[in-house]
Symmetry: C2
Subunit: 399 residues, 2 copies
């Protein structure tokens, strides 16, 4: 992939691709009457500029203005160095605040500096789009903008950039396929390492090693969610992380793991039984696999998210199974705490119509009394159907 | 440690300890005129109730009210199961919202459910404390509370619970010492694995494996920050994460890594040179080690954060070194994206007076032209000085 000569050493996509993303963002901004979009979500900052770094524990943002071609990156001084090597931006669009602004309860606030840049650019009377329900946009950020930019107005543009991200480019799909290759290795590692008597943390450690190392040809990145591996009595608590407990005989273990390549994900869930599985689990597996395969056959451009969920629900009803949560969600490029995109969910009421190169993680979760079961599929919508990002047996594993 | 008979299988501290934390929180609430504290920060939720789980990608909170002894945990339905096993709370203080509230752009919002609980409890005319500049408290959350609780009032209590967390109990110090044992193993792994020609991701993978596995006796947890290991030309970009690049001869590598035990951290930074280090790096090491040791000797209860920083700055001035960022910060229990507590920083202007069982990460960062250097120390303030959470050589490593 072409890198900008004068730019970063780690810029992943062509300058043309970034410019196309910014163009699509500006189209949505015009439609929504927004003149300056302020993105604080790390995935949106990455998407619009290439910026990558574990710096999202301090305030930072990207501004996209209709009256300027390139976005402006604003962050902490020491992170401007990362912006220089990871973004395609000209140096004058990389702006930074001094360290005295960082976590200073009584002193300067990073958003004060953002306000300074906005004023300098002459954008202080514009209509701003803000990501009002994203975790990296605090109420305090809003308060400062609202107080210090009295001539500006503010609109909720919570998912504006995320909606652009929803349809992937071919270069992004390529990243996700590589993440899928890593996911295959990661899941196999998880299954191989699970063993009665081993500590949960040792299995989690081996999985993390596989995620970050990746394959010989595809180096791994940290997934936006740590290995999730509910087991035994905790099987109904899917987001409980591992402990020092040792695996016991005759317990089910769910592995929800992702491969990650350059911040693009390919999540996968499988279930393992440590021992001879009870007939009920074998039956659940059969119905879920059939239901998932019927649903995957049904998926194609033009059908809606709620139709996909209905297909799934009707399909597993034959097995008298009930799945209480949403069937799936849009995913892709992301940072902790989530690899989901929040834009579309396969559940009743979501009328999002599937389009080519949307990407979804279908993850049915079945709980029946003491049994928990997950088996998932991460897919791309193709011209006339869908394809998985990985190739891994759809079965109940037992050890 | 005593577990509640009727309570969780993973509750870490005694019920008495949690009650003491809540009591201290209520003292601060009374001082600040706050009747109900709403904590959305995952570390505060854990601190007040024991709750642990990777569920902070959806809205959740803990409410502490002056008129009720126990806090109330509110989260997603499937995460209530984790709340049952990790908190000391009575079942009626674990409340949950259905999956249809999750990431639903046009439907219900989780904070609508929080409002329902507040009304049911009769707290809708109270004065609330909110964590207005914490990443897990969005502007949208504020908007909903403000709109749907017209008789309530809202105060910024951004660091109220974090200030209670700042002074650790002996049981917490014990957790951090265990994290320190893991940190020793983790740093040794990083140094051992670094090698010219290896991919950065393979070294990061080995480090992550060591972090999560921990030691034979102390199982590891995921640190709130991934391994940071800026190297070579990227040495001045401390939050740039690893890539598939292979290490080259004659480059410096900074390792900033933490051990983590039950969400408690012990961060450590060391610098490695791949080859024979230039004299300048040897000199920097000497001055930083001397400066750090002089500063550690100076630290004791009663001195202020800014005095510590001044001591450090004067000390390294002999080596004509300049450190542009803050020298250190309070740390402890935390979740991604940060292990810092935001409450106190060792830098000019911070008048926080050190007290016994405060815990700080002192992490000087030196950049000079093409050279980067870090060496850190994670300490507890003792009765008459300070002690480190780990025992690891303070030197420049070369391989």
């Amino acid at each position: 992939m072409g890198l900008k000569n004068t730019g970063g050493i780690k810029v992943l996509f062509t300058e043309a691709e970034y410019k196309e993303r910014v163009r699509k963002t500006k189209v949505r901004m015009r439609e929504q009457g927004i003149e300056v979009m302020m993105s604080t979500h790390p995935a949106n900052m990455n998407y619009l500029t290439g910026y990558d770094g574990w710096s999202f524990y301090v305030h930072q943002c990207v501004l996209v203005s209709l009256d300027q071609e390139e976005p402006v990156w604003i962050g902490r001084n020491m992170d401007a160095n990362a912006a220089k090597v990871t973004t395609y931006l000209s140096p004058d669009n990389i702006r930074n605040y001094a360290d005295e602004y960082v976590h200073s309860p009584v002193g300067k606030h990073p958003i004060d500096y953002v306000v300074d840049v906005i004023k300098e650019k002459g954008w202080d009377d514009k209509r701003f789009g803000l990501e009002m329900d994203q975790f990296y946009f605090t109420h305090k950020t809003y308060q400062i903008l609202n107080e210090k930019l009295p001539s500006a107005s503010f609109a909720d543009a919570n998912l504006l950039v995320a909606m652009v991200r929803q349809i992937k480019s071919l270069a992004e799909i390529d990243m996700m396929k590589k993440a899928g290759k890593i996911a295959e290795k990661v899941m196999q590692t998880g299954i191989d390492e699970l063993e009665v008597g081993r500590r949960e943390c040792d299995v989690a450690a081996a999985i993390s090693q596989a995620q970050i190392s990746g394959t010989k040809d595809i180096g791994g990145d940290y997934p936006a969610i740590v290995p999730l591996m509910p087991a035994g009595k905790g099987i109904d608590a899917p987001h409980l992380t591992w402990s020092e407990r040792r695996y016991e005989k005759n317990e089910p273990v769910i592995l929800e793991l992702s491969g990650c390549y350059n911040r693009y994900h390919a999540p996968m869930a499988r279930t393992v039984y440590l021992g001879e599985p009870p007939q009920k689990m074998v039956d659940i597996t059969k119905f879920v696999v059939e239901g998932l395969e019927e649903t995957l056959d049904f998926i194609k451009p033009g059908v809606s998210c709620e139709e996909v969920e209905e297909k799934w629900r009707n399909s597993i009803a034959k097995g008298e199974l009930v799945d209480a949560s949403r069937l799936g969600y849009s995913f892709g490029l992301n940072y902790p705490p989530d690899w989901g995109e929040q834009t579309a969910s396969m559940r009743p009421g979501d009328k999002t119509v599937l389009k080519e190169n949307m990407t979804f993680h279908l993850i049915p979760i079945i709980w029946q009394e003491d049994i928990g079961f997950e088996m998932s599929s991460a897919i791309r919508i193709t011209e006339d159907g869908c394809e998985e990002f990985y190739n891994f047996p759809r079965e109940l594993f037992n050890k």
